[in-house]
């Protein structure tokens, strides 16, 4: 699938870009595809590219030396990720592993190339800084939630967030459909798939959601909001 300059306008970093700039970016980039479960880069790899997801879904995972992993961020189409190589002064490495949640395709832009464009395009720097502050605010909220909230509040929070980011209107049920496994949700919320399974089963019994294999359909988002407030 060929990416056009018009397509790239969907990337918030490029909102103010001219067509010429977008052509230049496309000309200097390569397309890469990866099937589900594959990796665009690994934690510790040298950050030679930044990535724009053109289709599919990617999770950024960080591991500790014992192999335990957390999902730091989930990437949806037309979002940029892995940009620190274009920004850092020193030899930057990726702090997380980019793994596909489903078959995915990216546009890989050389870090050095984007860096040279950043030097002469203030709109690009502003775009990137805006993206970074959005991400900082998200991970700060998640950190605070992890430190202060019970696991059911965190899982409810995560479902609400996912409804906004990756939800699709369900055709069968009057609700919003999410395509994530229990393990996926557990990684995003600092818990285990068994705990997530118990919570989802409980909420299904209460009619708040309906579930399937690797699927969650949110029927009553307001009830989830009440759970996050600790009043359920």
């Amino acid at each position: 699938m060929n990416v056009s300059p018009k397509d790239l306008k969907q990337v918030v970093v490029f909102q103010q870009a001219t067509d010429d700039d977008l052509q230049l970016i496309l000309k200097n980039s390569i397309t890469r595809s990866m099937e589900e479960g594959g990796f665009f880069f690994l934690q510790g790899d040298e950050a030679t590219y930044l990535y724009i997801l053109t289709s599919g879904q990617v999770k950024l995972m960080q591991s500790n030396p014992h192999g335990q992993q957390v999902n730091l961020r989930t990437i949806y189409p037309w979002e940029m990720f892995g940009a620190l190589g274009a920004v850092r002064n020193d030899g930057a490495t990726y702090p997380a592993t980019a793994q596909t949640l489903e078959d995915s395709t990216v546009l890989a832009v050389p870090s050095l190339f984007l860096r040279s464009m950043l030097e002469t395009r203030p709109y690009l720097s502003f775009g990137l800084m805006n993206l970074m502050t959005s991400y900082i605010q998200e991970i700060q909220s998640r950190y605070r939630e992890l430190a202060t909230e019970k696991v059911e509040q965190r899982v409810a929070n995560a479902l609400i967030r996912l409804v906004g980011q990756a939800g699709i209107k369900s055709e069968k049920e009057a609700g919003i459909e999410l395509s994530f496994s229990r393990q996926d949700v557990a990684e995003m919320t600092g818990t285990t798939l068994y705990t997530v399974s118990r919570l989802l089963s409980d909420w299904e019994r209460k009619g708040i959601i309906k579930t399937g294999r690797e699927k969650i359909i949110v029927l009553k988002p307001h009830d989830l909001v009440q759970i996050t407030e600790g009043s359920a």
Copy 2:
């Protein structure tokens, strides 16, 4: 205390700045002082200034609606914080409260002014993006630690990190001295002051540290490293 352009060169964002630019920043900024326990800004306030700490120490705290707080970041002299108002396109508010850990003084730079400088000084944008990526990496690590590590590993990690950021060579003991209360450390590690107190008392009995009121002297940092690795 008057801040000179030469002083501002210690701020990593301004490393590449000319004297003229530094003079211009100083000319357009104000100095503010606050005693211990005071606030430079509150969570939710409109982000009209960014701040450079010229002396003292500041903690950035985020609360949930129930009043529970976490320390997202501790600021040391010559570090910039609260910069999102210069970067965001929308009406930005501070996502955290800036509270002094001791008597402190800042240089407050109007967000709109710095924004106008960012538009014509790529080195400033690069400096700011470098700062942001450093912070992103730190909070990602802390998030992963919170999600995957036992409380004693997290506290050991925090002490090691603090040794590098705020440690002073002790005159009385052969070690590095940190001036933080048990409550301060608890806020940085997502636990309670009682848990921190028990851990510190245990480590003091083992000769790893020595403590006083609002004071921790690290005698055997290598033992703390072993604790973080889960092999103690």
